[in-house]
Every structure is written in C-alpha cells, then in structure tokens.
C-alpha cells in the first residue's frame, strides 16, 4: 500500500495505491493527519489504483469527510472500482461523498 499526495492550487489529491486494509490504514494515519490540516480545501481521493478497502479505510474517508465539513472544505472520491462501490453501498458512503 502506498499513498501519494499531490498538492495543487486549491486542491489536494491523495492517491491510494494497492490495498487499504486495516494495517495499511494504520500506516496511512500520519499522512491523513497531515492532510487534515488542509481540510478547508478540496481533497480529491484518487482510487484508480486502490484494489481494496476495509472499514479502517472507510474510517479514514469518514474522518476526512467530517474534517472537511467542519472546515468548509470538500472531499471528492473518484475512480472507485465496482467492489469498492459495493462496499460504499453497504455502508451508505455513496450518499456521504461526492463520487466521480
């Protein structure tokens, strides 16, 4: 699991590459904490190369979503595969996020 954060003008893109399982989510915590500071901006979660997500991963998304809500920012999730889409569906995440 890798994360790649790209900062542009007014928006930050974080790409998850590989499996976002519980250990990976724990590993990603520092990155996410860093990202939280930019929650007033638009955070794009790039899922093009994300194979898998567990509830820990979802919690990261939800944490970001909550932070963005507080700081008037925005979280956009893009390019989720079908499996992840179904997980989103099961958890109601499809309605919580703007998904492209």
């Amino acid at each position: 699991m890798k994360t790649k954060v790209t900062k542009e003008e007014g928006k930050i893109t974080i790409a998850f590459i590989g499996r976002l399982d519980t250990p990976a989510a724990q590993e990603a915590n520092p990155v996410i904490n860093e990202l939280m500071e930019d929650a007033d901006k638009t955070i794009i979660i790039e899922c093009k190369d994300m194979e898998y997500i567990s509830s820990s991963g979802l919690r990261i998304f939800l944490t970001l979503r909550k932070a963005a809500e507080e700081k008037k920012g925005k979280v956009i999730i893009q390019n989720i595969n079908d499996d992840i889409r179904s997980v989103f569906m099961m958890t109601g995440f499809l309605n919580l996020f703007e998904i492209r």
């Binding site: 919690r59 909550k66 499996d83």
Partner: protein, 748 residues
C-alpha cells in the same frame, strides 16, 4: 396425533387376531382331500380281497384234495368189501364145478351140489345146477335148487313152467360167454323182498359140451349196510349201480332197482349233469365229476368193480364239503370288514388331524405373511438407503437393524435439517408386535418433534411426555438423540436411559452420557443435554444392547471389548457395520438370535475436496496480511471470483480485526470449511466476552457528522455473510460466519 392412531391400530390388530383364532377353531376339518382317502380305502379293500381270494383258492384246493383222498379211500374200502364177498361167491361156485362135471353121469346126485354150496358158504343164499334143456332125454328141464330162508333149508326145483329158467339171464349169459357171469341184481320175492345177484358158471361134460349152469345166489342186503354206513361228511352218501346203471344202493329205497341213472337223469332238471355222471360211471373208470342237483353242486367220486360190472360213488354236497371253509371265509370277511372299518376310522382321524394341521399351517403362514408385511412396513419407516446423503462429502453414515423376530422393537433414524444432522437410536422394552408398535410410535414422535426443534433435550422431553401420557402397557423406550451442527462439528445429545455410544477420535471411548430415565417412564422428567465437538474424521457408533449382549451357546456375552476390537481401524461406515454383524454372527454361532441387533455408525468427514484450512493469528494487526493470504487460498479452493474473494476477505478482516484489536486474546484461531455451497468460518479467541450479533447496528442513513467512526466493521461482515452466530463456550468467543456460494460468485 400419531400416537392415538397407533393406539387404535393396536386395538384393531388384537381384535383381528382374536377373530381369526375363533374362526380357526370353527372351521377346522371342513376341507380336505377326501378323494385320497377314498382311494386309499379302495386300495386296502382290493388288497384284502386279493389276499382272501388267494387264501380261498388254496383252501379250496386243499379241501378238494382232502375230500378226494377220503372218498377214494372209502371207495377202496367198499370195493375191497365187495370183492371179498364176490371172491368168496366165485370160489364157492368154481370149487364145485368139477363135482358137477363128475356128477353129470348120475343125474340124481346133482341135487347134492347146490345143497353142498349153500351149506358150506354162509354168504350163499341159494344155489342151483340148471341143466341145458334136453341134456337128459328123460328130464328135458332139470334144475334142483337149494335155498336158505330164515335159517331153513328148502330144496326145490326151478324147472317149472312159470319160471322158464332156460330163458333167464343167469342161465343164458354164462353159456353165451362161456365163462362165469354175475347177473343183474334183482329183487327176490321168495323170502321177502331181498336184493340179490347170482353168479353162474357153465359146467361142461367130458366131451367139452356145456351141460349145465351152476349158480350161487348172493344176498346183497349187506352191501346196503356196507355202503350206507360210510359217511365222510354228514350229508354225503353213496350209490352203487349195476352195469346197466340200475341203482342197487341208494339213500332213497324207492329208487332201488326201479330206476337207472339214465332214467333218473331224464326226470330231473339237471339232465346234462346226470348224463355226464352216467357216462362216467358206466365207462368202467375211476375218477370224479361235479354234478348239479337241484341247483346245488356236488362232488361225485366214483370207481368201478370189473368182475360184477358195478360202479359205485360217493356224493358230497359242496356246501358241506366247503362248509368249514365258508365259515372261515365269513369269519375272515367279518374280520376284514372290522379291519376296514378300523382303517376308515384311523384314516378319518388322521385326515382330520392333517386337515387341522394343514389349516393351522396355512393360518400360520398367513400370520407369518402378515408379520412379514408388518416387518416390511416397519423397516420402511426407518431409512434404509445407504449412503443416505450421497451428495454430502462430510457424512459417511450407515445403520442396520437385524430383528430377532419378524418385527423389531429397535429403531434408528436420521435426517438433515438446516445443516444439522439429527440422528437417534432406541430400544423398546419387550419384543414382538407390541414392541414394534411402540417403536413405530417412537419413531413418528421423533420425526414430528424434531421437525421444528433442534434441541435434543426438548425433543426427548416432548417425546417422553407424549409417551408417558398414554403408556397403558407400561412399556418404555431407551433412546438417545443427537443433533450435530455439521458446520461447527458441535454435537448436542440427550440420553434417555440408553447405553453409551462409542466415540472414535484418535482413540475409542464411550461417550459420557447422563443416564436419565427411559422414555415413557415418568412424565415431566427433566432430561439433561450434553455436548461434544466432533472434529473431522471423528466417528460415533450408536448401538443397542442386542450387540453387546449377544449370547453364544456357552452363554457368554459378546461384550463391549469385542465390539471395540471389531470397530478398530478407519473404515467406511458400512464396512464397520458389516464387520460387527459378522463378528456377532461368528460369536453366537448356532445360538438363536435373542435380541434385535441395531446400530448406527456416523463418520464425520471433511466435506470439502480442497480440505479445511485453519490459521492461528497472533494479537498483532499485521497478522491481517496472513489472514488475507489465508482467505485467498480458501477462496481459490472454492474457485471464487476476485470480486467474491475480496468481499469475503473484507468480512473476515473486519471480524478478525475486532478480535485482534479488542478481545485482548493472545491468539485468534480461524478455521474455514468449504462446503459444496458455502464456506463457514469460525473465529475463536479467548478474550473478553463480546457478542457482535447483539451489538447495535450502525445507521447508514445518518449525516456524515452524526455518524460514529466505529461499528462499520461489524455492519460490513453482518451484511456480507449469510449467517453469523456467536457463542461463548469454555471461556472462548466463538464466532461462526457462513457465506453461501452462489453461481455468480464462482469463476466461470
């Protein structure tokens, strides 16, 4: 209620039995093979008749031969009596012929010769010397005659005009024949009516010319006496006839000299028969002939006296001759009749008892048939198709019931419901039809109660209450009921007074059972449930005491040790049962089977071809990587699509993560069993109790700010898995998760 149905069934059965017994006693002897009996009697009669005919034939022959011997000896005796007289008479005359010859010269002296003959021979009643007419010129007719009448000697002459001696037979015949001649007998009227005959001999002079005839008259009255005295049978008699067939001696005096056989024959009805007799007697022969007179048969034995030309016979009525034989025959016939009667009676009684026997055996056959049908019905109540679940790889189960009688009081049963294997075994007290009916009731109860209950304790209790309610016959059933969760291997069981089953793990031991009471003994008895976890390759052997208590001729019991020995080794369930049957049969040898042999062998197998997998994870979140690989293998075993694999992995990761992060258990065990259409995981930890199935679910429709961070994991695996059960046992959390495999989740 099935029980009520069986109760009325029992009553109907008993009533039928009584009815049939009554009919049996009424109808005995109505049918039978009468023809065989008749034939037998006819054969017996024929046989007896043949015997008596043979016997009669030989007796007849013997009697005839005896009669002939007797008759011939009598005839000979008469004959010799007659010949004695005849010879004396002939001698008396011949001895004086020379004197007469010599005296011819002196005619007056001739008169002395008859006198001499009469005086010297007492048998001679009269005598004359009758001169040929004109031999003496002076005396043309000369015949001086001496007779003895009433002891007085009278001398007279036969040369009278009335008598005309030269024309008499006694005078003419000897001259004609030129030898001595016995005249036809005649009745002499001179001195009373006396039967007489005359012997005459010609007398020649010196020139050889016949000069005179010398005679002797013989009184034949002695002949009558001689002949009539002979009676060889009370009704037999004799006759003597002259050479012309004239009757000289006859029981009927009126016939004497008045008739000939010839004349008699023409008068009677049996002419032909008498003519034959006539011919035979006048034929100068000896022999015998059968003569019918007045419809009655007579045997006539006859002989002939050459010198006089007489014939005589002995006539024996056959009725007399065979009177003894007939009496004997009648006696024999009477005895035969009695014998036949006896045979008939014996036959009838045999036939009767055979009929009874036949009827009883028919009845017995019918009852046996009915019992056979009952047995078939009973056997059809218990599952008999093995293997019973061919589609299941996790069950190798076989059961057998070998009844000691036509019907059995034992039962076993098994079925699968909701991935649970229900199986049971039972033994009804007593044997035969009553036990079999109770067996049927028990089996029905088991099926109906276990259809909606999977707790053995409740199943057994309900059955016990039902059976106790209506147990009028005070019979009971020992019973053990097992319910195995095929996914987890957890087996609950409840024993009702049955002997402990054997459990075969890496060793063989008796499954610990609480004894409890048998079913039907006490209502509301509180049965206790027990449990055991079966692992793959473990086996359970349920049996009734008919096996361990099978007795050999020395009254030794088969026993549990022999049973354990027989069951050792890993074999197919059916092979185990066959081995036990063989071992018991080999042990009891010719001793009759005293109890039903019933057993059930269940071998718990790993149901997936790929095999089960298990993994033990340490309490470290990075162990999730191992879990991922583990789940990947399990999913590959089941040939799941990547998507399904991912989904399964997610659920398991969530469940295991919770155990790792929150239970505090040092290790977490995960097992996976791949069935044909599902995968079951168990997650076991020894941490603090936590029942996720009781945890509140997250509300996925809440606004982002209101949604809690946690709880998503449980929600996910509850969503993904088809069933999730939690159990706290032995201070362990056991979470069982099952995911069904549908065709969409399998790789194409």
């Amino acid at each position: 209620m099935p029980y009520a149905l069986f109760q009325s069934g029992i009553k109907i059965c008993i009533m039928n039995l009584k009815e049939q017994t009554n009919k049996l006693t009424e109808r005995v002897g109505k049918r039978g093979s009468r023809w065989t009996g008749l034939l037998l009697i006819l054969v017996a009669v024929a046989f007896l008749q043949i015997i008596s005919l043979v016997q009669a034939y030989y007796a007849h022959k013997g009697i005839l031969s005896e009669a002939q011997t007797k008759a011939e000896s009598q005839l000979n005796s008469i004959k010799s009596g007659i010949l004695n007289v005849v010879n004396q008479a002939e001698s008396a005359v011949r001895n004086n012929v020379w004197l007469a010859q010599w005296s011819l010269q002196v005619p007056d002296s001739l008169a002395n010769i008859p006198k001499l003959i009469v005086n010297n021979n007492p048998i001679v009643a009269g005598s004359t010397i009758a001169m040929v007419p004109n031999y003496y010129k002076k005396r043309p007719l000369y015949s001086p005659y001496t007779a003895i009448t009433n002891g007085e000697i009278i001398e007279t002459s036969l040369a009278t005009e009335e008598y005309d001696y030269p024309s008499q037979e006694w005078f003419t015949k000897p001259i004609e024949l030129d030898r001595g001649y016995w005249s036809e007998p005649y009745i002499d009227t001179g001195g009373g009516e006396i039967l007489m005959t005359t012997y005459s001999v010609p007398v020649k002079d010196n020139s050889g010319r016949i000069a005179a005839v010398l005679t002797a008259d013989i009184d034949l009255e002695w002949l009558k006496t001689l002949v009539n005295d002979i009676k060889i049978y009370p009704g037999s008699f004799s006759t003597v006839v002259s050479r012309t067939g004239r009757l000289m001696v006859s029981p009927e005096d009126s016939l004497i000299m008045n008739t000939t056989i010839d004349e008699y024959a023409s008068k009677v009805k049996d002419t032909a028969s008498f003519n034959a007799l006539n011919r035979a007697m006048l034929g100068r022969k000896s022999g015998n002939i059968q003569v019918t007179h007045n419809g009655k048969k007579n045997m006539v034995y006859y002989t002939h006296i050459d010198k006089t030309g007489w014939a005589m016979n002995i006539i024996i009525p056959e009725s007399e001759m065979f009177a003894g034989l007939n009496r004997l025959n009648n006696l024999i016939r009477l005895l035969q009749l009695l014998g036949l009667l006896l045979i008939v009676l014996i036959f009838r009684s045999i036939a009767k008892s055979q009929l009874r026997l036949k009827y009883i055996s028919e009845k017995k056959e019918k009852m046996e048939n009915e019992l056979k049908i009952a047995s078939d019905i009973q056997m059809s109540m218990i599952p008999k198709t093995f293997p019973p679940f061919p589609e299941r790889k996790d069950i190798d189960l076989s059961a057998a019931l070998v009844p000691a009688k036509e019907v059995s009081g034992d039962l076993y049963d098994f079925f699968i419901r909701d991935e649970k294997l229900f199986f049971c075994i039972g033994d009804v007290s007593g044997k035969g039809v009553p036990a079999s009916l109770l067996m049927a009731v028990t089996r029905s109860l088991f099926r109906s109660v276990s259809a909606h209950n999977d707790n053995p304790q409740e199943i057994v209790s309900t059955m016990n209450n039902s059976l106790s309610d209506m147990n009028e016959s005070n019979m009971f059933v020992t019973f053990i009921c097992c319910v195995l969760d095929l996914k987890s291997g957890k087996m609950q069981y409840c024993n009702a007074g049955h002997n402990a089953p054997l459990i075969l793990t890496d060793k063989m031991s008796e499954l610990p059972v609480n004894p409890n009471l048998p079913l039907g003994v006490l209502r509301y008895w509180e049965y206790t449930v027990q449990d055991v976890t079966l692992h793959y390759d473990d086996a359970i052997f349920l049996y009734t005491d008919g096996i361990t208590e099978a007795e050999n001729p020395n009254h030794e019991l088969f026993g549990i040790e022999r049973l354990k020995h027989t069951l050792s080794g890993r074999k197919a369930a059916q092979a185990h049962l066959d081995n036990v049957k063989r071992a018991v049969a080999g042990f009891v040898k010719e001793a009759p089977q005293s109890d039903d042999l019933t057993m059930l062998f269940f071998h718990y197998l790993n149901d997936s071809i790929q095999g089960s997998r298990e993994i033990t994870l340490e309490n470290n979140i990075n162990e999730i990587h191992k879990l991922e690989k583990f789940i990947s293998k399990v999913a590959d075993d089941a040939q799941l699509t990547e998507s399904a694999k991912s989904c399964l992995n997610l659920a398991m990761e969530e469940a295991v993560t919770n155990a790792i992060l929150y239970s505090g258990s040092p290790t977490v065990e995960v097992t996976a069993r791949t069935g044909n259409d599902d995968i079951t995981f168990t997650i076991t930890d020894s941490g603090k109790p936590f029942d996720p199935t009781a945890a509140p679910d997250v509300d996925i429709n809440k606004d982002a700010l209101e949604r809690p961070i946690g709880g998503l994991g449980i929600h996910l695996y509850m969503k993904i898995m088809d069933s999730v059960t939690y159990e706290r046992r032995d201070n362990r959390n056991i979470l069982t998760l099952t995911k069904k495999i549908d065709k969409n989740s399998i790789q194409k």
